[in-house]
Symmetry: C2
Subunit: 294 residues, 2 copies
């Protein structure tokens, strides 16, 4: 049999607000909340054999450097594909609130399923990636959001078959600036009661008015009530607010969980920042290529 | 207030097999089955006011000619947007099994919601379009499939909140040839018991092995068992089968419900046909632009 390889793309995901819903079963655990998926994301190449130009057997790289992500290894184990070569590539900053670990896990699930001909459905692959990410404590809601694309609203926590999603029907340019890392494990490992109460209130607000300006308003209120706002982000939000370009501009908010500010339209550029720019990703996670079996 | 307009794109959807599940409530009614969504689709432009270059108040056009689609009018009524100008544009043949009416209804829901600032969520808009399409008798499962994109598997019938979806994780080129129309209303209005039994069997097969070659196999078996195969389509399926290019080629199948044959890869070209070509659409229905409110 010829060697098999496949490539998947998974959008970045910036959470605007959330409530944490832990459970013993990682398929059932998750978060409620909302965010935006980004055309900036993570590309995962998986190879089931050695051939030139493909990741070598058993290799693990992140942006070309040797390195592994726990949830990725767990996904490969679950698919009986630990021998895979896996190359993760992303322009997004890692540990800054873009869901890179969830994207890497989901991209690995999609690409390894194709490369190893594992015959799982989309829901099964999302479930495997979600469970791996939750069990590693690196995220609660990124995977299901990244699978859907657009502006996902997590109505009920958990993987497909357990959780429930809706979406804000919208498209927009997104800008972001990152000031550094913030540990998801530390925040999620602490007392999340106040955070979750603020997250539930924000979700109720968005469900009553599912539009982007309301999402951004609810995100700002959540960051402040959950006491997660860091000084550089707070300053950027104020600067975007005071920028005179667009009186109805939806403004900026903090990415959960990262020292990252994001804005819709040209909010950060207008305020004098030098942001990265992309768009809301309509498609969600997807296989982009297969070789060897077709 | 300035005039508002918005544009949505909805992929075409070719149903491979299905079972019909009628119900008094059109939100609950629907179909189980599977198919592929196409990058060839329907673009709907909706204008909430008169301005140059936008569809005029109350106007309805299909590919530039005056004409309306029942489900589109019902969606506009439901959104209190009957004054909208609506321009539907598509390269797909109408009435040939591509879900054009469902796509037009869903695209209208997305674009009218944005143009008229109706503040509905994605699930609500899909529900409105699904109910309109089912009530008009022009389709049962296209709308929910088109909303998801990719290779949608309809596990349970009905709109979001009632139905349930999965997907075959795959990407591929799709080719198609159309030989003419076939009335969805006539087939769905007749005795659907044998058809639905064949559809359920095909779905069980695909769930056990969610891959494209299995989808195509199950589709061929369904068309034959449900006695829906028309001569030109049967001939094309045989021709693709006998084409020597690729021994493992997944072959061709009939689009439900149309006098249309579709193939993955280059099956129809290889067999000497002159097909239209596109790809599986990863994204599903999406808003592609808004003006006036941002």
């Amino acid at each position: 049999m010829s060697s098999q390889r496949a490539t998947a793309f998974v959008p970045g995901h910036v959470t605007a607000f959330f409530s944490a819903h832990p459970a013993d079963d990682p398929v059932v655990a998750g978060s409620r909340g909302a965010g935006v998926t980004l055309t900036d994301g993570v590309t995962v190449r998986v190879s089931a054999g050695d051939d030139p130009g493909s990741p070598g057997t058993g290799s693990r790289t992140i942006d070309g450097e040797t390195g592994s992500i726990g949830a990725v290894d767990d996904v490969l184990d679950e698919l009986d594909a630990a021998a895979a070569g896996v190359a993760v590539e992303t322009d997004l900053p890692i540990g800054a609130g873009f869901g890179v670990s969830g994207a890497a896990a989901l991209g690995t699930a999609l690409a390894a399923n194709a490369a190893f001909d594992r015959r799982r459905s989309e829901n099964e692959l999302i479930r495997i990636a979600h469970a791996a990410e939750v069990a590693r404590g690196t995220g609660l809601g990124d995977v299901v959001a990244q699978a859907r694309g657009g502006v996902p609203v997590r109505l009920e926590p958990g993987a497909p078959g357990v959780g429930e999603l809706d979406g804000v029907p919208a498209t927009a340019r997104v800008e972001y600036v990152t000031f550094g890392e913030l540990s998801t494990e530390v925040v999620l490992g602490g007392d999340t009661a106040a955070l979750s109460a603020a997250g539930e209130a924000a979700l109720d607000r968005l469900r009553a008015d599912p539009r982007l300006p309301t999402l951004m308003d609810a995100a700002r209120e959540f960051a402040s009530e959950a006491d997660l706002l860091v000084p550089e982000v707070a300053e950027a939000i104020t600067a975007v607010d005071e920028s005179p370009e667009e009186p109805d501009d939806p403004g900026a908010a903090m990415a959960m969980l990262g020292r990252t500010v994001f804005a819709l339209g040209t909010g950060l550029s207008d305020a004098g920042y030098d942001p990265e720019g992309c768009r809301i990703d309509a498609a969600g996670a997807r296989l982009v290529g297969e070789r060897g079996r077709e």
